[in-house]
């Protein structure tokens, strides 16, 4: 380049200006540092426009692969105010050249910015223009001057550097961001993996935890079991498939007398089974293991066991197989039942005693549950009723054994008991299938409240007792019959007894009299008194004898018209005190307007007296009811009169009625018994009848019936026939 001095100052300024611009351009990268490509471009374009007073500057960046190219068009201020094609149109126009690369750029472009030519300077960006193209355009014809080209080159250079740097930066950024992204992703992946791991860990922990719980459960149940086994009252012994003891609880230790450690591992048979039974046990065990056939499994058996000291005792045993897989093992529960066996024996014994006692006493017991009619009998009761032990006892069945005549009474009692639960006492008869009659007595009372009324009772077979009682009374009556028959000697004794009383008085008084008179001075008053008594007693004696003679001697009877009521009243008067002494309650029922009879008054009175005394005697043992004595007179038909004496005494058997009137004699010390035989004689001589009838209830009624006017007797004044009893004197 040639430097002209005239131009030097202008040139110098220009060059100065150029160097300043250069410095500015060189400073650009510092500005661009950290920025992106568009930033680089914009600053560059701004700088170029200003520095070079360009009219147009455009740049086309070729983006990195995949990115769209960047096109920027910048117009100077002035140019903008002119009507011109749009930036887009300018780009369009330029684009064809862009495509071709920078080498094919013409220096001038026509009508780029409207009318006129424009000088353009394409500047490749990048070492090989790979970055893009910068186009500077101006309408000046001297564009570009050297300095301007220099500046443009440097600018392009700087732009390339800047762009490269920016691109690099952005690439770096991109990479960094990609890296970041990758890192983030990776981190996310790691996090996810971590999460998954955590979850797995948590699950595993859960499983472990559950396992731990189950273990705890197992432990707990182990402890429970141990507690149960250890505290059980029953002996619990466990054996394995070889029959060796694996468990031996404290109760077993106590019962058998071994410590657990002494027996574990030993054969069960050798420890608790008595020597005599060991073989059988071993065989049974072996058989089970071989065949599965179990004789003792699952049920209660009783057997004998042996203690450490060798003593044998009864046990109750239940064996089960332990339900686990593998070789079998067994648990046995044993209980020492020595006490129970003893109690059972005692019970059986006492039951046997009771049965025996019932058998001996012929008493059977029963219970009757009213609500259900459930009846239970003791063995003896079956025997009494002669029924099969296996028979179901019902009222129907019982009815078949009750005597038909007693059946309704029995049923009444049953119904009443059902209603009111009152105590029962009943005598009735049974009739056996073969017709035999049994007498039974039944007593029962209730137990339990009304909801569950239950009768407990006993039935006694009293047939034998009754027959012995009958035999006894028969013997008694026979005895008294015998006594009656040997009457004469005793009759005499009785008469003598009657006479002895007054005689004794006579003798005593007479003796006294003599002594009194022999006294000094004589006791005349006393003697007189004794004499009086003597005479009285003597009279008494003769009266007795007269009475006797009247009955047994040859005395002339007095026939007269007799008022029987009057005669009866006299007899009552005579014997009242005696009857009262004997607690007899006399009830006279004497008929009004009783016709008179003809006969011997005294004799009839004797009969009445005899009947009264007999009735009184018959009741002398009666204590459970009043000793009622009824004496009644009544007309008997048209022409007879009847007198009855009724007692509630012990009575007599119907078959013995006639025997009564045989030579009967009373052995009683009081009074004069003239005997029923004599009485009958008297009545028969009155042409009457004397008889005895057992009462409906208790006791006997003696009655005689005599005609009012017997034929052949005549009237009182003209006795035609005498009643002569002498011939009948026993």
């Amino acid at each position: 380049m040639e430097v002209r001095p005239e131009l030097a100052s202008g040139e110098v300024k220009h060059l100065q200006r150029c160097i300043n611009d250069l410095i500015s351009l060189l400073a650009l990268p510092a500005i661009w540092s950290g920025g992106d490509p568009s930033q680089v471009l914009h600053t560059l374009l701004d700088a170029l426009m200003r520095m070079l007073r360009l009219d147009l500057v455009s740049v086309r960046l070729i983006g990195p692969v995949g990115e769209a190219p960047v096109e920027i068009v910048r117009l100077a201020e002035l140019q903008r105010q002119r009507p011109m094609p749009s930036a887009h149109e300018i780009c369009q126009a330029l684009s064809q050249y862009f495509k071709n690369g920078s080498r094919k750029w013409p220096p001038l472009l026509r009508n780029l910015m409207g009318e006129g030519d424009v000088s353009i300077v394409p500047l490749p960006l990048g070492l090989h223009g790979e970055l893009g193209v910068l186009v500077a355009a101006s309408e000046r014809t001297d564009f570009p001057r050297q300095t301007e080209s220099l500046l443009l080159s440097v600018a392009a250079n700087q732009a390339s550097i800047g762009l490269q740097g920016a691109r690099l930066l952005s690439h770096q950024k991109r990479v960094a961001s990609e890296l970041d992204q990758r890192v983030v992703q990776r981190t996310a992946e790691l996090a996810a993996a971590n999460e998954a791991l955590k979850k797995e860990l948590a699950e595993r922990r859960l499983v472990e935890g559950r396992l731990g719980q189950e273990e705890m459960e197992l432990q707990r149940s182990e402890i429970h079991k141990a507690a149960i086994v250890d505290s059980a009252l029953d002996c619990i012994v466990t054996i394995d498939h070889e029959g060796c003891i694996t468990e031996f609880n404290p109760a077993a230790e106590h019962t058998f007398g071994y410590r657990r450690d002494e027996v574990v591992g030993k054969h069960l048979a050798d420890v608790i089974i008595p020597p005599s039974l060991r073989d059988r046990h071993r065989q049974g065990f072996a058989r089970y293991l071989a065949t599965g056939e179990a004789r003792v499994l699952g049920k209660r058996v009783e057997m004998t066991a042996v203690r450490a000291d060798g003593s044998e005792f009864p046990v109750e045993l239940a064996v089960t197989r332990i339900p686990l897989e593998g070789p079998p093992s067994f648990t046995g529960y044993l209980r020492d039942i020595t006490e129970r066996k003893r109690a059972e024996r005692e019970l059986r014994r006492s039951e046997a005693f009771l049965a025996e006692a019932q058998h001996l006493s012929r008493i059977g017991s029963f219970s009757w549950r009213v609500a259900t009619d459930e009846i239970t009998w003791s063995e003896q009761l079956y025997r009494i009723f002669q029924m099969d032990r296996d028979a179901q006892v019902t009222f129907e069945l019982i009815g078949t054994r009750i005597h038909p005549e007693d059946l309704s009474v029995f049923r009444e009692h049953v119904e009443r008991s059902r209603q009111d639960g009152s105590d029962v006492q009943l005598e009735f008869r049974l009739q056996m299938p073969d017709g035999a009659i049994k007498y039974v007595q039944l007593v029962a009372h209730t137990r339990g409240d009304h909801g569950e009324l239950e009768y407990i009772g006993a039935v006694q077979d009293v047939t034998e007792r009754r027959s012995s009682e009958e035999a006894l009374s028969k013997a008694r009556s026979e005895l008294s019959h015998v006594a009656r028959v040997t009457s004469l000697g005793v009759l005499t004794a009785s008469i003598a007894h009657e006479v002895n009383q007054p005689l004794s008085g006579i003798v005593t008084n007479a003796s006294t009299c003599l002594r009194m008179l022999a006294a000094d001075p004589p006791n005349v008053d006393g003697a007189r008194e004794t004499a009086r008594r003597t005479i009285r007693d003597g009279n008494r004696a003769s009266e007795v004898i007269a009475r006797l003679r009247a009955l047994y001697g040859k005395k002339e009877p007095m026939i007269e018209s007799v008022d029987l009521n009057e005669a009866t009243r006299e007899v009552i008067a005579l014997s009242l005190s005696e009857l009262q002494r004997k607690r007899v309650i006399l009830r006279p029922e004497l008929a009004d307007d009783l016709p008179r009879v003809t006969g011997d008054r005294v004799q009839l009175q004797q009969v009445i007296l005899n009947l009264l005394r007999n009735a009184s005697d018959a009741m002398s043992t009666i204590d459970d009811r009043p000793r009622d004595l009824l004496i009644r007179t009544e007309p008997d038909g048209n022409d007879r009169v009847r007198l009855s004496v009724r007692d509630v005494g012990i009575g007599f058997e119907p078959q013995a009625a006639d025997k009564l009137f045989e030579a009967f004699y009373t052995t009683k010390n009081e009074g004069m018994g003239i005997g029923l035989s004599v009485s009958r004689s008297i009545i028969e001589h009155h042409h009457g009848r004397l008889w005895a009838t057992p009462n409906d209830g208790t006791g006997v009624t003696f009655s005689f019936s005599i005609p009012c006017k017997p034929e052949g007797l005549g009237d009182a004044e003209n006795p035609v026939n005498r009643i002569d009893l002498s011939a009948d004197a026993a």
Binding site: Q501, S504, G505, T508, T512, N669
Partner: protein, 131 residues
């Protein structure tokens, strides 16, 4: 009751008569007094037991057959009460076999009515002598 004096001035021993027969109760005490005893008569064993003579009686003249408590019952009762009173039984019965039994059971004598005064006196002497 004041005991009547004997002729020699000493107190008379008391005899008790128990008989349901009135004539015996009338006649016997007089005879006993003639013998020199004091005498009381009772119509029943119960009357005697409830009287005040129980401890004073030196001898009991006792009928066998009486209504209520008999002579034998009274004998038993006195034994139970540990009253040792000698007893002479009198009876109108003619059964002679009762006598040995009664003597065996501790009676001093058993006399059959009618008995003589001498028989009675002998028995009384035996009774009082024993006492």
């Amino acid at each position: 009751m004041q005991s009547p004096k004997a002729r020699d001035g000493s107190d008379r021993p008391l005899l008790s008569v128990v008989d349901d027969d009135e004539s015996v109760r009338e006649s016997l005490p007089d005879l006993l007094r003639e013998f020199g005893f004091a005498a009381r008569a009772f119509s029943s064993a119960e009357e005697f037991l409830s009287s005040d003579c129980l401890d004073h009686t030196r001898c009991l003249i006792l009928d066998i057959a009486m209504p209520g408590m008999s002579g034998l019952d009274l004998q038993r009762e006195l034994k139970l009460r540990r009253q040792e009173i000698p007893i002479i039984f009198i009876t109108a019965s003619t059964d002679k076999t009762v006598r040995p039994r009664l003597l065996e059971q501790g009676a001093v004598e058993c006399l059959f009515k009618p008995f003589s005064d001498t028989a009675l006196l002998e028995a009384l002497n035996a009774a009082i002598r024993v006492n």
